[in-house]
Symmetry: C2
Subunit: 211 residues, 2 copies
DNA sequence: GTCTATATTCGGATAGAC
DNA sequence: GTCTATCCGAATATAGAC
């Protein structure tokens, strides 16, 4: 490892990569994710098309970098937010934030959460960021009472549903975002009801044993 | 209108269109929706590529026909099912059927419910089928008690969420389908609770007036 | 690292004969 | 309706000079 964090060459390179990624998002938003062209992307950052290959080995690599970039943005965003305090309110904020984040950028949502590019799969390294986010979500859900895998699966579906409807039918708006509180209430009431049902069942079993 | 339903020329043409559509779905499932190539499609149905233009004026037209085809399949499917009887059970069946239908064919789900092809929008004629299905869903939800637009919006999000997770993370499986009953219970319990909350509020208002 | 030049392949669409 | 032939454009990727 001769490379250093303050190596000016490395810094310039990373800055260029960041610039390319930023422009890639702009083009993706305009034309769709699959329609991003390396020629136009190169133009937009003041390079000739073959020079992009200095920074990305292939177009797949570019998508992978965008995937990682999107999840880093999401993780950074969640870090600026506070999901401690009352678990129900925290979960509502988490859901609302997430749906808003998705609704604010359709193509980012598509790349991060849908299979919209045929054949694209993130690298292990990039996918680790997705897992990191998933674990964060699992924690917030767990603190509020959703502890089983079924609970988590149902909650992910609630997130996906609001996000999907928000991005597809009211991009940039709040038509589905604003149901976050209602959906969390609905979810937690159900979790409670199930916990009680299970407790009663166990209670009956205990009675059986005592007989 | 000289054309007749039994016109053999028209029948042959419609049969060919159906054959082309069927093969288009096969290719879309294999390579992704956006990657369907007219050359390969023509090969698959025993035609040369330019001859496809006899049946479809453009590629966009082909997508539009696939869109209509998918919604017709969905409407036909729902017609074979019974959504009368106990409203809660009917709604559960409806949700479960729908999620299964989506999970069984990722690309069909993408074309019918997501914005996966940049720039594609269905024609008015095809979109009418989507509206027809939406109205059917609204009816099933309404019979079970979800009458406001908010109720319908929330329910569509529940459908979208289960379908999205099912298709993306367990295609062909049942990991999210099997939560349909739980999700409907959750939803209807919430609708009930809200109705009661509103009733109590109105009650209070009445008391106010009587004071 | 950036360039020019180019390879290679493929895409959708049209013209016009039969 | 189907064909051959072709247009035209665009795509990703590579070779090699500077």
């Amino acid at each position: 490892m001769t490379a250093n964090v303050t190596d000016p060459r490395l810094q310039r390179r990373q800055a260029k990569v960041a610039q390319i990624l930023a422009e890639a998002w702009v083009l993706a938003r305009r034309d769709g994710l699959a329609a991003v062209s390396l020629r136009e992307l190169a133009d937009a950052v003041g390079l000739r098309q073959p020079s992009l290959y200095v920074y990305f080995a292939s177009k797949r690599d570019l998508y992978d970098a965008m995937f990682a970039d999107g999840y880093r943005a999401l993780l950074d965003y969640t870090r600026t937010r506070d999901y401690s305090g009352d678990p129900r309110q925290a979960l509502t904020r988490f859901l609302s934030d997430l749906v808003q984040f998705c609704g604010d950028d359709l193509v980012r949502y598509q790349l991060l959460f849908q299979r919209t590019i045929p054949g694209f799969e993130p690298s292990e390294r990039s996918f680790a960021l997705a897992v990191e986010f998933y674990e964060l979500g699992r924690e917030v859900v767990g603190t509020a009472g959703g502890r089983s895998q079924d609970d988590v699966d149902v909650f992910t579906a609630l997130v996906a549903g609001l996000a999907e409807q928000q991005t597809a039918n009211d991009p940039g708006g709040r038509r589905w975002v604003r149901h976050s509180g209602r959906v969390v209430d609905m979810f937690l009431a159900d979790v409670d009801r199930r916990r009680q049902a299970t407790a009663i069942q166990e209670d009956c079993h205990e009675h059986d044993h005592r007989r």
